[in-house]
Symmetry: C2
Subunit: 368 residues, 2 copies
């Protein structure tokens, strides 16, 4: 996999806030040969970041870009102060909610012509400089939200920063960003948590029969509660819009189910409507390569639960010149399942099955 190679060189960058994200940005920039300055009021984090060779203290040279990577509550003031201290620099941040932060930063005196909101869509389940990684943003999306008055030059510098960190920049208005992440990330987080919360009082035997569906639906419920409390609070408006829609749908179904439970069959229509709307909505999610979900075909194979067995399977696919689009290993109660589902482009399904059968694999059918 090749990284985008920036054609123009990025001038010095000052990173304010040497936590996980700030230090990771610094490391990514150092990796690309950019001069990086670091600042943090927490001298311990700053020391750690410097020991990781993420950058040095300011040496009198003015930064071209200032990246404010402090907690959301502190970001507006720090953005405004940086804007005043470095009157020629592009000023950007990394908070996962944008409108409120930028509005407050402008109110506090940030220069709107040099301000570009930023949201690198990557993270880890750890915090602090010690957890930072130069590759954290490789191949990740990084949304940029210029203000209406941001000059082209500063938008371009922010794009160069993103590309230099190995990420893919996508530009949108701050309010668009907040509505988008409410829909695709923040509301789903709440829904996952609300569903997973139902497992708390449940009998162990009932949970024991859980399949992949429940696992997928509740995976993100195990995310950091503190972090999510902050994110949801900062994006309360757009998230509540999406959640209102979810609650409305659920109440329609709930009402219909209660009537059905009471013996009234006339209420199936509301359930049907939600199921169909969901199936159609799901189809709108882009697939692996940015296209709508391709109609991959899935080939099921049983393999022994032993070291090297998956290798043997993938060797067979590779030898046949077939690229695997996705891999799903199924989990079954009580004992290891050796069922592996391989997703491939439709035209590759038959050659894959042939190649696997030839090599003695236990192919268990093909779903279209």
């Amino acid at each position: 996999m090749t990284q985008a190679t920036p054609t123009a060189a990025l001038g010095p960058v000052l990173v304010i806030g040497t936590g996980l994200i700030g230090t990771s940005i610094a490391l990514a920039l150092v990796r690309a040969g950019v001069q990086v300055f670091l600042r943090d009021q927490d001298s311990h984090q700053l020391q750690t970041a410097m020991q990781m060779a993420a950058g040095t203290e300011l040496n009198g040279r003015a930064p071209d870009v200032v990246v404010v990577a402090v907690p959301p509550r502190a970001a507006p003031q720090v953005l405004a102060a940086a804007s005043k201290e470095f009157p020629d620099a592009t000023i950007t941040d990394v908070t996962s909610v944008k409108s409120g932060i930028l509005r407050q930063a402008l109110f506090a005196g940030a220069d709107s012509s040099r301000l570009v909101g930023g949201h690198p869509m990557a993270g880890r389940e750890v915090s602090g400089a010690a957890g930072a990684r130069a590759d954290l943003f490789d191949d990740r999306l990084w949304i940029l939200t210029p203000t209406l008055e941001t000059a082209t030059e500063h938008v371009q510098r922010a794009q160069l920063l993103v590309a230099t960190c190995g990420a893919l920049s996508v530009e949108m208005a701050a309010s668009e960003h907040d509505v988008a992440v409410a829909l695709v990330s923040h509301a789903p987080q709440v829904v996952s948590s609300a569903l997973a919360a139902q497992l708390l009082p449940a009998k162990e035997m009932h949970i024991a029969v859980a399949g992949q569906g429940l696992r997928d639906m509740t995976r993100i419920a195990s995310s950091d509660s503190d972090l999510w409390l902050d994110i949801l609070s900062e994006n309360a408006g757009p998230v509540s819009e999406v959640l209102s829609g979810v609650v409305f749908e659920l109440q329609e179904v709930l009402h219909a189910l209660q009537e059905l439970a009471a013996g009234d069959r006339d209420h199936q229509e509301a359930i049907d409507a939600t199921l169909r709307a969901g199936a159609k909505g799901r189809m709108r999610i882009p697939g692996k390569h940015g296209n709508p979900d391709s109609p991959y075909r899935e080939v099921a194979v049983m393999v022994a639960d032993e070291p090297g067995e998956l290798a043997r399977l993938f060797i067979a696919a590779g030898e046949a010149g077939i690229n695997l689009e996705d891999v799903r290993i199924e989990h079954v109660l009580g004992r290891p399942s050796g069922r592996v589902e391989l997703a491939v482009k439709p035209e590759a399904a038959d050659p894959l099955v042939e190649a696997l059968v030839q090599r003695g694999f236990d192919v268990r059918g093909v779903d279209s």
Copy 2:
């Protein structure tokens, strides 16, 4: 992977209803050398099943077991009729909701001492005999729900049927089953649909930034709406119990978010409570081997999006004697991502990283 090998031989089995499930059961039994009789009022399905060598018509020999694999609405009457026609046979079914079906079957005259409800937890996105597969139940759960009066001998025969089909039997009361599947399967289906329905009116640009979280949360929303309408309607009571809990949690959060959006910070507690309950609830889901989720460590590796590259990766793991517990291939907007996350037991993470680095792989860190 070895299948459980039944020690006792199963006598003749009559399968009534030669759709996908019935014919798959018949094929699985034939595979194990069991004599199978088939019956269906749809002569086309019956012909198809017979042409697939799934069984023959009744030849005068009485079946030991009758499997009723007809649609839920017809199941009670067919169970009762089979119970009368074959006074020594174990009578079982395959519907995914149990209490109502069994109650109605007993009311219609089925013999409670020989009735064992069944629910093989497997399916395909196709229907009819033509889609049947002998391996459909291999390593899948198959829940058995005897009545309070079912004789041990008939429970054992049902267990033998399940084992002979390659599945794992789990026994519980019918009402327990219905509550369990409402929790782990039926309510999550509705929640997934309700969330995915929010994508229908959304802007394409907003959906475009969707990550793995939304994909996981909405995957099951693309299931067959007709089938789910029937399932939800049959299990309306237990599903509405679970959904009530989900709606309650969501409304608490929604109310808090609306207050926050209006500037009142006092309401964070309700959001925090839901997030924490969700994280705790999620931890109760059993892991791959029937144990609580093991704290697997994830090793991230970048690989080229080309045939054979995954093979090279798995060969390296296999050569190092390391078993991969799970594999996740990440999808990123706009271009193929070569980021692969390998889940391994904690003690295997460092050896895996070492083995991969030695072989020149681009290892991108380890999450605990």
